[in-house]
């Protein structure tokens, strides 16, 4: 499965990247392709392109705050969870994509 994800936490210092790391590792171990965009204190990094979003089979938002440029994901089915859940139990988050 091709997955794209966005992570974002309140201070953008730590949990954004912890969640990104967890999602990337877990997805790969399950044989998925994944790209995670981080929206932290440094702004948007590893930004998802329009074609990557278009081609994705599933979208995950692991966020505690509003996602920047959310309109890019219009029409996509999005699974939104708190950042903490992506850190604590990334498998269950990926399972929500069905």
């Amino acid at each position: 499965m091709k997955i794209v994800a966005v992570t974002a936490c309140p201070t953008g210092i730590a949990h954004t990247y912890m969640a990104a790391e967890k999602l990337e590792k877990t997805a790969k171990s399950l044989g998925h392709q994944i790209k995670v965009e981080t929206q932290g204190a440094m702004g948007i990094e590893n930004e998802l392109s329009a074609s990557e979003i278009k081609e994705a089979d599933g979208v995950i938002f692991a966020v505690d705050i509003e996602v920047e440029q959310r309109e890019r994901f219009a029409g996509k089915k999005v699974v939104q969870v708190p950042v903490q859940l992506a850190i604590k139990d990334p498998k269950s988050v990926l399972a929500k994509l069905g």
Binding site: P10, I13, A14, H15, Y17, M18, M42, D64, I87
Partner: protein, 837 residues
């Protein structure tokens, strides 16, 4: 014909007791009447009355006049105008007034979590923490038997007052001589009150009306106190304490010891709690046992509070009903950092304060250790860090602030603002005072540097068109040989008491040095002829401030033991730019590359000829220049005493090789702006985010609040924050969103903060797991604090933290983190892992 002098009142704190006593001291040496008029409020006063002067409520910026009328009015006018111009404006240092934090007391969560419940807020007047048994002091009242007493005859009562005043005057004057600076200033103000004609008049009036001496004194003091209490300015209101103090001491002289006035002896560590405390009562306390002071009424600028500060006694003021809050003999804690009096403590609160005390002890210990050590770089190159002073009394304070010596004692102030030169005896006394205060450390005393821009009334030099290039410094020594020899004799005598060095100003030719040496020989012979002993000089040197001297270093070195660069004059002569002219402020200057090259040449020449070289101009006080001066290889820098601690600490962090490299690059610059930029970049070298001192393993903490406090303390001790309370609060604010414990025994508390000196990673490993509200509900073993400066808008440090956040998700990293027991090894491991792959 009365004379008048108008001026604008210059002192920031207004005309309070201290400056008033200075003015009174000058005024009372003249017979004419001297009236002080405040044209803003129309009040007038006898300038020979401290209370009268204080009562004019004169503030900074008021238009004032002195009106002089009487036989010696002309002499008084000359003396007073000179005094007001040269001395008065600087006779009162601005007071540091601590204002309480806005919005009342914010207490650290760790302290609240320790069970702090009963506490009373106050305003911190002198910071610090003190704990001990409480001693509650009641207010004073004249005992009933004295109130009921009948007078003898008015004449006898008056005589009794006169005797008491005289006895107290003698006592105060004696105490003043043995006292440290702040204490002496307070005693002087008291002496002024005692001499006050206004007060004396009131006492006499009451005795005339049939009161006893004691009743009259008590009533007159009370009446004057009432006037002061009604004053607009808080500062004047606080003078009431000084007045009561003088009154109490007078009453004791009249009636013998009054138990109600005496402070009891302190048995063991004590916290003194009182409605108010007079300076005299404070001074009578055993300060070795006094841990803290709590006052209900005293303000921030009362003399009692000023004294408490100078003895560094943690003090809270404005604690409502202070004396009723705590029982006598109860164990109390005064936290004058947070501004609270703690009447009851749980064991956990006591532990919290024990830790806080240990931290404070360590912090102050380090600072003091740094001050006690001679100035040196991190790699051990010695650099004496000395003080510039202008009066003997400053020497003691300079050494207390860590000076390695006196690098420049300007003696001209002793000669200015007077009609006759100071005598040999007077000069000897002052030089001896400075040398004694030095306790063997070097004291460089510069011989008279007047003339030109620094006129002296008794030296009748004709006016000059260009005084800076004129008849000044050593240039008039030949013509004024008796004056110079008097100074040299005083210096030679003082040299017997310690390491005194003589330095000659404004030397442009080698003959000038030879002249001074000849005068020195004559002075020595005169002392011998008079049967006076004189000491060996620890050195004889010259100031390098005239560019011509730079190219005579070999000849000068043959005559002298040392050099000291006077950068202010040298730079202005070198660039031909008047340093007083603001339009020329951008021209040249000590940080210009040409000037730095000049300094390079001077140091090289001095070293070639084996001579010691120091630097005593304003450049020495410029923090940007410190690494440059180390790189140039000076033996000493001499600066204003308050900057010595900072200079020592900064120099102690420098490595000679870096400074030499910096100096080479500075020498290659083309403009001053380039030099300043280089020096700025050097100073702001980033500190590493993580260092072994920021890693504490095996910490004994029971709870999350304790662990966070311990992390904050690590930053405080490492000098990365000086506001631990605020940092603690900021970390907690982030924890409130949701716990930073993300499972697996790890937590990453973090914050952006405005109270950090550097971006910081700190690691704490707890001896036992700590409940953190973690994602997996498991206790936390290792907490990694990520703290970023709020004003850091760069991304470099955030990238490091992002990398670290990803790392802690990896099992192998986590295992190493949990298993490592050595701070240095853990630091190296994390730093390596954080390198970009």
């Amino acid at each position: 014909m009365p004379l008048e002098h108008s001026w604008v009142f210059p002192l920031a704190n207004g005309l309070h007791a201290r400056p008033a006593s200075h003015l009174e001291e000058v005024a009372r040496t003249f017979a004419c009447t001297i009236t002080f008029c405040n044209d803003r409020n129309g009040r007038t006063a006898n300038a020979k009355s401290v209370l009268g002067l204080v009562g004019t409520e004169t503030r900074h910026g008021d238009s004032c006049r002195l009106v002089l009328d009487g036989a010696d009015e002309a002499a008084a006018w000359t003396r007073l105008t000179a005094f007001l111009r040269d001395t008065f404006a600087t006779c009162d240092e601005p007071l540091v007034i601590e204002t309480p934090a806005a919005g009342g007391v914010t207490l650290p969560r760790s302290l609240l979590a320790a069970g702090l419940t009963r506490y009373h807020p106050g305003r911190p007047a002198c910071r610090g923490i003190g704990a001990g048994r409480s001693l509650v002091l009641g207010a004073f009242a004249l005992p009933p038997e004295l109130l009921a007493a009948r007078p003898t005859t008015p004449a006898e009562e008056l005589q009794a007052v006169a005797r008491a005043v005289e006895a107290l005057q003698t006592e105060l004057a004696q105490a003043q001589r043995g006292a440290a600076l702040t204490e002496a200033a307070v005693l002087k103000a008291h002496l002024g009150l005692l001499r006050d004609p206004g007060l004396a008049g009131q006492i006499a009036e009451r005795i005339g009306a049939g009161q006893t001496a004691a009743q009259a004194v008590a009533a007159a003091i009370e009446a004057q106190a009432e006037i002061l209490r009604g004053a607009e300015s808080a500062y004047l209101r606080e003078r009431v304490l000084d007045l009561t103090d003088v009154g109490m001491q007078l009453l004791e002289k009249l009636c013998g010891a009054l138990p109600a006035l005496r402070v009891p002896p302190l048995e063991g560590p004590t916290v003194l709690i009182a409605e108010s405390l007079t300076p005299g009562q404070f001074l009578a306390l055993d300060r070795r046992q006094l841990r803290a002071l709590v006052l209900a009424h005293s303000g921030q600028t009362s003399h009692t509070v000023i004294l408490a500060r100078s003895f560094n006694i943690p003090t809270l003021t404005g604690v409502a009903n202070a004396t009723t809050l705590v029982g006598a003999g109860a164990e109390v804690i005064v936290d004058a950092n947070l501004g609270i009096l703690i009447a009851e403590q749980t064991p956990a609160v006591r532990t919290w304060y024990a830790r806080e005390q240990a931290k404070v002890t360590e912090l102050t210990g380090r600072l003091q250790a740094g001050l006690g050590r001679p100035g040196a770089t991190a790699d051990g190159r010695k650099l004496e860090i000395a003080a510039n002073i202008s009066s003997a009394a400053e020497a003691e304070a300079a050494f207390a602030q860590g000076a390695d010596g006196i690098g420049l004692f300007r003696t001209e102030l002793l000669f200015m603002d007077r009609t006759t030169p100071p005598t040999e005896e007077e000069q000897f006394g002052l030089y001896a005072q400075a040398v004694r205060a030095a306790q063997g450390r070097p004291v460089i005393i510069r011989t008279l540097d007047v003339g030109g821009d620094k006129p002296v009334p008794f030296l009748k030099f004709p006016p000059e068109k260009n005084p800076f290039l004129g008849y000044r410094g050593v240039r008039f020594y030949g013509e004024q040989a008796p004056l110079v020899k008097t100074q040299l004799r005083a210096l030679l005598r003082a040299a017997a008491l310690g390491a005194l060095k003589i330095m000659v100003p404004m030397v442009a030719e080698v003959e000038e040095v030879r002249l001074v040496k000849r005068l020195l020989g004559e002075a020595r012979a005169e002392l011998a002829a008079a049967g006076q002993s004189c000491g060996e000089l620890a050195g004889f040197g010259v100031m390098l401030e005239v560019p011509a001297a730079v190219w005579q270093m070999a000849e000068l070195a043959a005559e002298v033991d040392f050099f000291s660069v006077g950068t202010n004059d040298l730079a202005q002569y070198f660039f031909a730019a008047d340093r007083e002219n603001p339009k020329l402020a951008g021209l040249g200057g000590t940080l210009h590359p040409a000037f730095v090259r000049l300094l390079r040449q001077l140091v090289d020449s001095a070293q070639t000829h084996g001579r010691w070289i120091g630097l005593c101009g304003e450049m020495a006080g410029e923090p940007l220049a410190w690494p440059l001066l180390v790189g140039l290889g000076f033996d000493e820098i001499s600066l204003a005493a308050p900057h010595i601690a900072a200079a020592k600490a900064a120099v102690a962090k420098l490595a000679v090789a870096d400074c030499v490299e910096l100096e080479k690059r500075v020498g290659q610059c083309a403009t001053r702006a380039e030099v300043v930029q280089l020096l700025g970049a050097f100073r702001n070298q980033p500190q590493p985010m993580l260092a072994p001192e920021l890693v504490v393993l095996d910490v004994d903490c029971q709870s999350k609040p304790e662990a966070i406090r311990a992390l904050v303390d690590v930053l405080h001790l490492a000098g990365r924050t000086d506001r631990p309370e605020q940092l603690e609060e900021e970390i907690w604010r982030r924890e409130e969103t949701y716990s930073t414990g993300f499972g697996g025994g790890l937590a990453v508390p973090h914050c952006k903060s405005s109270c950090l000196t550097a971006n910081t990673i700190a690691v704490l490993k707890s001896r036992r797991g700590v409940e953190w509200g973690a994602l997996d509900g498991e206790p936390v073993q290792v907490a990694i604090l990520l703290a970023i400066r709020a004003d850091d808008h760069g991304k470099e440090h955030l990238k490091v933290l992002a990398r670290l956040s990803r790392l802690v998700m990896r099992d192998e990293f986590r295992e190493r983190l949990l298993g490592e027991t050595d701070p240095a090894a853990l630091t190296a491991f994390i730093n390596e892992a954080l390198q970009p792959s």
